[in-house]
Symmetry: D3
Subunit: 292 residues, 6 copies
């Protein structure tokens, strides 16, 4: 159950409105890494989590805070976009919000894309979701940093600094929650990866020029048991194929060029309407093979 | 530059097609955590990364492999969906693919949503992107595990086990690449969080019942310097407000109920067309003449 | 600022899970007329409304309640979808939620469409928004009624009856708020409609058969000053054209058939690359007219 | 059946093209409250309505007129966007339409969002749909008013004034059609709301400051039988919970922290591939309980 | 299986970055007719095509090349957008890419729309798909031409000229592949069109003014056996109706105005909750007819 | 200007409703290749085309007819979906339309995707658009054929046969209109492709196995002047690179691994808030180079 307190979590005062900056701020309101995305991701993860009440509480605590952040960002944007209501040139900074929305904040990003639930990453597997959340907080932090870099208004900077700080707080909490599960670092779910194959680093992009196109090695090709496997591009059927033949469905025959296509166009097979065509039978009974 | 080898990275042979399972497999072809999403996320991160040639190579190696995986998953799906072409009941498992797509694999998920670039997480900040990639691999791993849980076809299981294994390989490589940057664990970008506030864990969701609704503590409320801050819901203007007043834009006045609304409807102010209203009224007050 | 209480606004107990019904319930969670849509529409309207503090409070009161409803619906769905986690046939009721989401509730509708902010109707004009809200509540009410019609589980019916009831409560409050503005019924904004034309009911769809295709009259063709205007389909250039000529931009000439097209393909005008083409000049300078 | 008359419903003549204004006008062509949305909403409501032939006629009359409006708005936009074809700076007003569309009008809004059927509100319940239509006309009216406020071109103003006027005409007709059904004001569908609960106005957003954050009362908290119910935030499990316990599915047990999670990661339970995992059985047979 | 070579298919060198042009170039990266759309359309058509190995090879050859083109366009865009990273005014050319994406190329078009698989046209019918591909290449060609028209940077022009040229190459190959099937020109699939009706050109848009609104004839009204059929707008129930009555479902009765609606609102039929309503029975048993 | 005649263009009578088939039919109502897509594509192409009045008339004639088709398909679907209103099992065929739409037809496809303008292909270049239209008609024809294959209801087959026939009619007309432009077959727009390169068929997908993975030749590698160019995968920096070096922006230096990344995380450079960071200056003035 939700309760709203008619006070912002962080006071927002700004000097001169900057409509282009207000437009940029929409990234954190209706954007892919914004506060609504964070609020919904954590809150819904929490609602689904009924067998781990401690981490459920964590998810609900932070999900709720992100909703309060949404309100703070919204207040900041509303102030910066205020000139849209009375100034034609300002309106061009965001015609959608001016004409359709009357100049207020709305769930769009800086290019007008409507917020969509495809932004969310929710799997219902606690340790996986915590990794998604840690990454989400890191993204939100860098976005706030970039926004701070694009304004000189001190009131805006103060509010953004507060919001940016909280992302690090959340990152710490999610990291602690992940560590406390005490799973091995690369263990996800129940099924084990196949030994051997799991340690092969495939060198799928190759080159040997001197303009940044030479193959490079790093700890990521040798750590955690990994070793490099190179493609055999000069061998017949080369590349990084793990097995030596292509796949098939039981009894499948590969058609022969031209004949297959022409079969569908033989005038003798054509029919008006459905009367004489070899057709798909309804109701799931053994279907006549279509001459296709 | 891309080159295609006419051989699957992993041979796919299946026994009996299972159209409902084929439909589920679409999650890894055109779905949010599927192979195209992985391929595009890493490859584009790599193309943008021109000042870190080692990790660029890593991103291109793995992005390329994911494209090869897309082909393997596609082959698997094509085989399982084959009955859509000739059987009405089978067709009901995915009418979109049957009627519009002719029964072949396409860039939709199991519920028919078209693939969208909103699935991608790309910030252009290397350590942030690596965290997004680690989380993406963890998600892909658990999705493959769930798919394996939903079939008994050994050929399908073998191919999915291969693909699932490779996600762990990639997770290892991205983790190694993150570690090798040697940034402090909670340092993102250049700007530091505000001391003090960064350590406050806000208890935004409260309760004290015995049905899982009591507040719980865990390492995530005390680790990495964190400590709990409780809301003051019984205080005037309570909650977790960090400051004591709400925000305002310079010179902004809060309107009074009713008058504001009625101002816009006063018959005396109404006009036919634009003849006598040469401007937008702002906030019920005399609006600045717009810069038209 | 938001606060979460770890207790549902309405207790949800169900008997036997019904996965297909759980899928239908998603309409009120992540669907077009669902609780998140209502919560976001009213809350954001409220945040934008700073010159009418009374109705702002109304919008925030109801917006907050809708968030609590979202949680109740979510709990109901989670329970009905529980079998997705362990049963293959159940999983087919919603493969997206099973495979990608681990069987939990998520922001999709019953056909898997992700929630999108395009569902929202927010104009920033109080009386217009109240009309949108009244309509939204009416839609939500009828959707709950249909859901009740599709289940026999008493616990589910009780919860849905509560939620359905609240929509009527909100409808009453929004209606009262609209009435209290005391605007004339058909007065929107400041600009008056053109007298005469505003009273013409255009009979744009005509017929005279006996299968429901005869023109019909009702109070909607005669009330509020309206009267019917019929199209003149048998006159030259007939129909319901208000003026007698088509429009033009100053100095615009309508091209002549074929010549216009052929002009773009005359071999003499073709060029390699950009070298000799009559091209658009960059940088906004007086551009050469393109032969198009 | 549709017939097109090669003449605009309203003649459109403009003076000097204004590309930024042309871009804004797209809101009424391919935007959320634009003419296509209106045309499709009413027309499809009409096509579905076979048991109320009078109101079906109304819906088809107005739906058809909106299509004619779409053509008028399209002509207006085409004229204002004409400079996109020959001028680089103009092209920046809408690069999507310039580069992909060749400078013509298209089904996008002012920020380039493609038109989507999620804009439509169609429930198949006549009185509900009429409320949606009244709100839609009110929104369209205010959008036209804002557009008129953003131009000084008299030809454009004339055309927009005509279109704006017609929205009021339609609003009148839909209102008359709603009134003629003679349903009680808050009666939707067949099921009655629960007495008592239906009259409780929940005060979900509270405050007592002097910056617009104090609770306010209005006719909306007392009219139509309503009275205010305040939350008990200082009571254990406080808020606006209607019942005293949280919900459960039959026999559901809430898991205990940590144990639940760790169960999925016990090394002894891990397995290679699917061989020894407690797994979900295919084909909907009694599924083994997964250790999840 | 895919292999990446760390070298561009075409060298991209540019002079001065032009951020607005970089934004326009996004049309060919993440836009509707861009390189990813082409790559995915042809590649997936190829993967599905197992009974025509020659044309499968064609589709994979060209699909692969389009991926290489995507990389070239991406490099070009990255260079033109470079100033987004350090310049506020430049950032306004694409705030989404600046703030969320760190200034790199991403899968959006010039107005920020995320790439979506709805751009693709894949039917699984070879000759149909080849027609879609020919059209796709023609669209891509004209888009490249327009882009060349919007820049003066020689390096950019060279790269775009290369990419534009290749679209013609592909158009040739797809055309040859279509011709080699040797189907009659208007033969699609197996079912024949109805003789007579197939040759009727319906004159659905009529007029007789002198402003471009007079009916015109062309070879398209007389070639390939076509002849014009005019609508009878002045006849009762006129137009271009092919038959003389409207349709019905077996036993369907068209309702009568008002009565139908009022039936759903008769107070006597109303009920609290589900107790006494004529309701839909669950589980697919013979359902009681709802009084609707 | 549009006029509606209250009679279907083709009478629709069906026998027994088939809800699953009704769901499939949605592909031609709100689907990617459906009647609304055709109507909008041609009509908007026509509205934009003011310099070729003959083909404008063609586009409006056919665009208008497609709207009439939309109505016919809608009537057919409404009849087949009728059981959704009263039967729970039927409702499961399309829960979105049942619960949200009341069982009527709506602008979704068979998997519930809302219609989107991204389905449309409009470039404003007549010959290109005609190619897109020819392909669109071919797709619509095959979709109708597949629908006919999935039903045994004679009334449905008759209506679908009519609609399918008309697609061939339109294909003929568009083809005639394209031919009458008399452009050379591979001439698009004004700019010529680069000689030499335009004739090179790149063999981008290679192989030599015996399971359908051997390179194949066809007329598409030799017609219209084409000849095959093979990749040099065994050469250093091999593949199909047209030039020998990678691209660069003027003065761009490729960073060196690790140093670049570490530079952004040097503790000495970190700062609280924006106070001491090397930041981007606002307002487009010469921006300080960010340490990125």
């Amino acid at each position: 159950m939700c309760h709203h307190v008619k006070k912002l979590m962080y006071t927002v005062n700004i000097g001169e409105p900057d409509v282009r900056f207000g437009n940029m701020l929409l990234e954190q309101f209706g954007g892919a890494n914004g506060e609504l995305a964070a609020a919904m991701q954590y809150t819904i993860q929490g609602w689904n989590c009924i067998d781990d009440l401690g981490r459920r509480d964590l998810l609900l605590d932070i999900g709720t805070e992100e909703l309060s952040h949404l309100e703070v960002v919204g207040a900041l944007i509303r102030m910066h976009l205020a000139p849209l209501k009375t100034n034609r040139e300002a309106a061009e900074a965001d015609p959608l919000i001016t004409i359709a929305g009357g100049g207020g904040v709305a769930l769009f990003d800086s290019m007008g894309n409507p917020w969509t639930a495809t932004y969310l990453k929710i799997t219902g597997e606690m340790d996986v979701d915590l990794r998604s959340n840690i990454a989400a907080e890191a993204r939100a932090k860098i976005v706030y940093e970039r926004l701070i870099d694009h304004t000189d208004d001190q009131g805006s900077i103060d509010a953004l600094q507060f919001l940016m700080t909280r992302e690090i707080t959340h990152m710490k909490a999610f990291q602690a929650a992940l560590e406390s599960i005490e799973k091995p670092q690369f263990s996800i779910g129940l099924l084990k990866p196949t030994p051997g194959i799991v340690d092969e680093y495939f060198n799928g992009s190759t080159g040997d020029g001197d303009e940044g196109d030479t193959d490079m090695r790093g700890s990521w090709t040798t750590s955690h048991g990994l070793h490099v496997v190179d493609p055999k591009m000069d061998a017949p059927g080369g590349g990084l194929s793990v097995q030596t033949i292509n796949g098939k469905i039981n009894g499948e025959e590969r058609g022969k060029q031209d004949e297959a296509q022409k079969a569908t166009t033989s005038p003798g097979n054509e029919a008006i309407g459905k009367k004489s065509s070899g057709k798909v039978k309804g109701n799931g009974k053994a279907a006549a093979k279509r001459a296709l």
